[in-house]
C-alpha cells in the first residue's frame, strides 16, 4: 500500500493493515519534522512545507516497493508520505516492512527510505513567518541510495 496524506496519522492504524499471522518481524522507519534552524543560530522553523508531484510520486513509490518485494522475502510493505504543511514534531513518512525473519524486514526498510529520499518527487521547505526556504538535497543521501544498486533487483 502506498498513501500520500495531507493529515497526520497514527502508527497503530497502519500497523493494523499489515498485521498477519505470517509475520515474525516488522520494521518501521518514521521520519518526523525536527525543530531545525531557519537561517541562522537563533531563528527556529515553525513548520515545513512538502511540495509533491503526486501522480509521479505514487508511481515512484510503487516502483521502490516493487523492487523491495522482488529483492527480499516480505509479507507486506507500506509507504505513507505526507504532503502540504507539516508542523514541528509531526510525521512526514512511515515505511513499514513485514516478513517472517528480521533480516528481510530490516534490510528492505532501509533500502526503501534510502531510495525514497532521492527518488520520489517531494520537495521540502522550511517555513518561518510566511517565509520559505528550500531544503537542499544531501550528497550523503545520494551515496546511501547508490549503495543498494548491487543488491536490489532493479527493473
Amino acid at each position: 500500500m502506498i498513501k500520500i496524506l495531507k493529515k497526520n496519522f497514527s502508527i497503530d492504524e497502519y500497523y493494523e493493515k499489515i498485521k498477519s499471522n505470517e509475520n515474525g518481524a516488522i520494521s518501521f522507519f518514521l521520519g518526523t519534522v525536527r525543530q531545525d534552524l531557519f537561517d541562522n543560530e537563533t531563528n527556529k522553523i515553525e513548520s515545513i512545507f512538502l511540495e509533491c508531484y503526486r501522480d509521479l510520486a505514487i508511481k515512484q513509490l510503487e516502483q521502490i516497493r516493487k523492487e523491495a518485494l522482488k529483492t527480499w522475502k516480505l509479507n507486506n510493505c507500506l509507504i505513507i508520505h505526507r504532503e502540504g504543511s507539516i508542523n514541528i514534531g509531526e510525521k512526514i513518512v512511515l515505511v513499514m516492512t513485514s516478513s517472517s525473519h528480521r533480516e528481510d524486514s530490516i534490510r528492505s526498510n532501509e533500502f526503501i527510505i534510502d531510495r525514497l529520499k532521492v527518488e520520489a518527487a517531494f520537495w521540502k521547505f522550511k517555513i518561518l513567518k510566511n517565509q520559505s526556504k528550500i531544503i537542499e538535497q544531501k550528497e550523503k543521501d545520494i551515496e546511501k541510495s547508490l549503495k543498494w544498486s548491487d543488491i536490489v533487483n532493479e527493473e
Binding site: 521520519g31 512538502l50 511540495e51 509533491c52 508531484y53 501522480d55 509521479l56 510520486a57 508511481k59 508520505h81 512526514i92 513518512v93 527510505i113 525514497l116 529520499k117 532521492v118 527518488e119 520520489a120 518527487a121 517531494f122 520537495w123 521540502k124 528550500i134 531544503i135 537542499e136 538535497q137
Partner: protein, 84 residues
C-alpha cells in the same frame, strides 16, 4: 497540439507558476521545445544547463532529448528531490 508542463521547487518559485499549457507544432521534439521555452524566458537556459534537473514526460524520465512530443503530453521539470 497542446502539451502541459509542470514546474516544481525553485523553478516553480522563480517562474511563479506551477504549470502551464503550451500550443506547439505537431512533431515538435523536446530539443525544439527547449528552444521555445528559452525564448519565452531566459531562466530556462539556466535550467537546461543544470545536470541535477530531471525531465519527465508522462511520468517517465527521459534521457534522449530528441524524443518527439505528442498532443496531451504531461512534461515535468524536476529539481533534486528532498522527500522522506
Amino acid at each position: 497540439m497542446k502539451i502541459k508542463i509542470k514546474y516544481f521547487s525553485w523553478i516553480r518559485i522563480k517562474l511563479n507558476k506551477s504549470e502551464e499549457f503550451l500550443n506547439i507544432d505537431d512533431k515538435t521534439n523536446f530539443e525544439e521545445l527547449k528552444k521555445i521555452l528559452i525564448s519565452n524566458n531566459n531562466l530556462f537556459s539556466e535550467i537546461f544547463k543544470d545536470n541535477s534537473i530531471k525531465i519527465f514526460i508522462n511520468f517517465k524520465e527521459i534521457e534522449n532529448h530528441q524524443i518527439n512530443l505528442s498532443n496531451g503530453d504531461e512534461l515535468a521539470i524536476l529539481p533534486p528531490v528532498t522527500g522522506g
